[in-house]
């Protein structure tokens, strides 16, 4: 298999793992599956680095391994240890419905990126479409899930999607840029999780339906 084809197929695995993250009911398992998905992302970075001879992507892969495969699942796992991993309330969509919506998102994403005339992504359109779709799957997770920490995972999925887009389209950008984005992302997770646990302590629930006092 050529390097480009490997990148495209590995990217396909991201969609499968992200659906698993969303549909797993126990949050600890979701966090672990997210770690697994991030490992796939790291593999995509490595395959891309080899295929495009983009040495900077090796640094990206190392950074993504530390922040996404290790740190984010660890932070979530520890937070769940504090607040207790309750069975999450089911989302608004059934697993089948989620699958259909995911397929639709993938189709639309492909239609959007198909006309792009960029040398850097020639041959990588499937991976690019998947990265965009992945971003919107994360958004779907935030919109349809009622557990605060599950929404944080939704954000992480969005982030993995945009990170892949970034790697596909902008892997020549200065390293400092990548470091800045990775740092922002990890701080976002830390702050959201800290806020989530504070809400759990004050309101005794992680259900977003409890956050409906402010209106109008």
């Amino acid at each position: 298999m050529s390097g480009i084809a490997l990148v495209n197929s590995l990217a396909g695995l991201l969609i499968v793992t992200s659906l698993l993250v969303v549909e797993t009911r126990k949050l600890r398992w979701s966090a672990l599956v997210y770690g697994l998905q991030s490992l796939v992302l790291v593999l995509v970075f490595l395959a891309l680095a080899a295929a495009m001879q983009a040495s900077r992507l090796y640094i990206w892969a190392a950074l993504a391994f530390v922040t996404k495969v290790v740190l984010v699942p660890l932070i979530l796992y520890r937070a769940l240890g504090q607040v207790g991993d309750l069975e999450t309330p089911s989302g608004l969509l059934s697993p089948t419905a989620a699958l259909i919506v995911a397929a639709a998102i993938l189709g639309v994403s492909y239609a959007v990126v198909a006309p792009f005339e960029l040398k850097v992504v020639a041959g990588l359109k499937p991976a690019l479409a998947i990265s965009v779709a992945h971003f919107f799957l994360g958004l779907l997770c935030i919109l349809t899930q009622r557990n605060l920490l599950k929404q944080v995972l939704g954000y992480c999925l969005m982030e993995n999607g945009s990170h892949l887009t970034l790697a596909l389209m902008a892997h020549n950008a200065p390293e400092l840029v990548e470091i800045g984005i990775a740092t922002d992302a990890i701080f976002a997770v830390i702050i959201m999780v800290a806020m989530g646990t504070q809400i759990q302590r004050t309101l005794k629930t992680l259900d977003t339906n409890a956050l409906r006092a402010l209106k109008g």
């Binding site: 960029l118 935030i142 504070q198 809400i199």
Partner: protein, 505 residues
């Protein structure tokens, strides 16, 4: 030399933030130390901001740190806003937080956390308006959310936690859209520019903007507008705004509304300059008119029915961001100038009103407009300052917002959008009525029995008085340096429409 000021401008609030975080002990001495550090920081930021603006006027754009930092006349307007409002809201904070400490709403540890995050927030906003690297610009915008989230949830109550959560999740998700816009622009610029390694620099992208791919630029601009428009509070992306602005401590509300929303507008403007040579001015302008008109219409309704003072002010921010977007949508020199002037004017007026609402909270312990009565007797100076702010936000002369709203109308007539302007004027009348109603209810009548007479302290009044003076000054006569700054800044935006890049000027 002037370029070094940029670095110091960023360093001062960052150092103060770290210092405040380090001193998290109870007692009078640590409190004085943190307050002193904070006041020194906001003073230095104000001084350096003024120096930077003067240098831009004198020498043209400043570049620093290997071209990663850039301040032209457009950015200088926002540096000025951050400097002035940061200083005044910073001074106001000291009096306000002391009151919170006395009443037990906050403890000493949280006080240090407040000053730490306040300065961190200032730093992130300064980074937004001085970034020349568009990816770093995105990082900075995201950092503003993270830096201010704890300020919104500072009181730790149920409602403030809810507001903080909504703020973080909606803005982080929104700004993630902005990253897509950023990446698309970067990738296309790297594709067409002679020096792809410099394709993340705004100044470089603008030089080669005419060669960018129109399809990609259109998609990118939509992502940028949705992403940073969420942060700017454009309807219907504003859902976080009324909650965050009303639940945050009042000086933070002032910063959020008067400065943060404007930083998001600034980012959108930077992208207008990038995409216009490739796709023409019509596409961005149409989107601005649609979002601006919707924001104005929806906000006018919410302002009219609002019973909570700070939520009313928050919706007024949506309304004014709508007016700024309308100015940008009408375009032409008049429209752009009106939008930029309104950006400044609204910042002053909204900072005044949120600080005044803070004084009302101190006196009445409530934001409920049914409960706030007889302010002129209870706290006459605050009452008069509130009156000035309300009239200004209602668009009454001789205050500054009247001038920029008048220019927006002129821009509309020049652009042949008379019908739109008539509708806007009707909506602005609704807003004026709402503010007259607010003033009538709050200033007069009998105060509740539990409210003691006597105005708040000098630290809570002086910053407001300064704001009123500035508003009257800008309303009666536009000083030459400000006029020159606005003119040059409008030139930066307009240059993209005529096809002559201004970035190198």
């Amino acid at each position: 030399m002037s370029a070094n000021w940029l670095i110091w401008l960023l360093a001062a609030p960052l150092v103060a933030a770290l210092g405040a975080f380090a001193v998290r002990r109870p007692g009078v001495l640590p409190r004085r130390l943190v307050e002193g550090l904070h006041l020194a920081s906001v003073s230095v930021v104000l001084g350096l901001a003024l120096l930077v603006v003067a240098a831009v006027l004198r020498e043209g754009p400043l570049l620093a740190l290997d071209d990663w930092l850039y301040v032209d006349a457009l950015a200088a307007i926002f540096v000025l806003i951050i400097g002035v409002i940061g200083f005044l809201a910073g001074v106001y904070s000291v009096g306000y937080l002391r009151h919170d400490l006395e009443t037990g709403a906050l403890d000493a540890r949280r006080l240090s956390v407040y000053y730490g995050f306040f300065n961190l927030f200032l730093f992130t906003m300064l980074l937004v308006v001085t970034s020349n690297n568009i990816v770093m610009l995105w990082v900075a915008v995201e950092a503003t959310t993270l830096g201010s989230a704890f300020l919104v949830g500072l009181y730790g109550q149920k409602s403030s936690l809810e507001a903080a959560w909504k703020y973080v999740i909606i803005c982080t998700v929104g700004v993630a859209f902005g990253l897509y816009g950023t990446v698309l622009v970067y990738a296309d610029a790297a594709n067409v520019l002679q020096h792809p390694e410099r394709a993340s620099l705004w100044t470089e992208i603008v030089r080669g903007a005419a060669a960018l791919d129109p399809t990609i630029m259109k998609v990118a601009f939509v992502f940028v507008l949705v992403g940073f428009g969420t942060k700017a509070g454009l309807f219907p992306l504003h859902a976080w705004l009324p909650d965050a602005h009303s639940e945050a401590p009042s000086p933070v509300s002032a910063l959020l509304s008067a400065v943060l929303l404007k930083c998001a507008v600034f980012v959108i403007l930077r992208y207008v300059v990038i995409v216009t040579p490739a796709i023409g001015p019509a596409f961005p302008q149409t989107l601005f008119l649609v979002f601006g008109g919707l924001s104005l219409a929806a906000a006018a309704f919410f302002i009219f029915v609002q019973r909570d003072l700070k939520r009313l002010l928050a919706y007024s921010s949506v309304e004014n961001i709508g007016l700024i977007a309308l100015g940008l949508g009408l375009g032409g020199p008049a429209g752009i100038l009106a939008a930029l002037l309104h950006t400044m004017n609204h910042s002053l007026a909204k900072a005044l009103m949120f600080c005044a609402s803070g004084n009302i909270l101190i006196k009445y312990g409530s934001r409920d407009l049914e409960a706030v009565r007889g302010l002129l007797r209870v706290a006459p100076v605050t009452g008069l300052l509130l009156l000035c702010g309300a009239l200004a936000l209602g668009g009454a002369p001789p205050f500054n917002l009247f001038v920029s709203e008048f220019w927006t109308v002129v821009a509309g007539v020049r652009a042949g959008q008379t019908a739109l302007i008539v509708v806007c004027l009707l909506l602005l009348t609704v807003v004026l009525t709402a503010f007259v109603k607010l003033v009538g209810g709050a200033l007069f009548g009998a105060a509740p029995n539990h409210v003691r007479r006597g105005d708040v302290g000098l630290l809570n009044l002086l910053p407001l008085a300064v704001l009123v003076v500035l508003m009257l000054g800008l309303g009666l006569h536009l000083p030459a340096p400000i006029a020159q700054l606005l003119d040059q800044a409008a030139g930066v935006v307009l240059s993209s429409q005529s096809g002559t890049g201004m970035a190198g000027r």
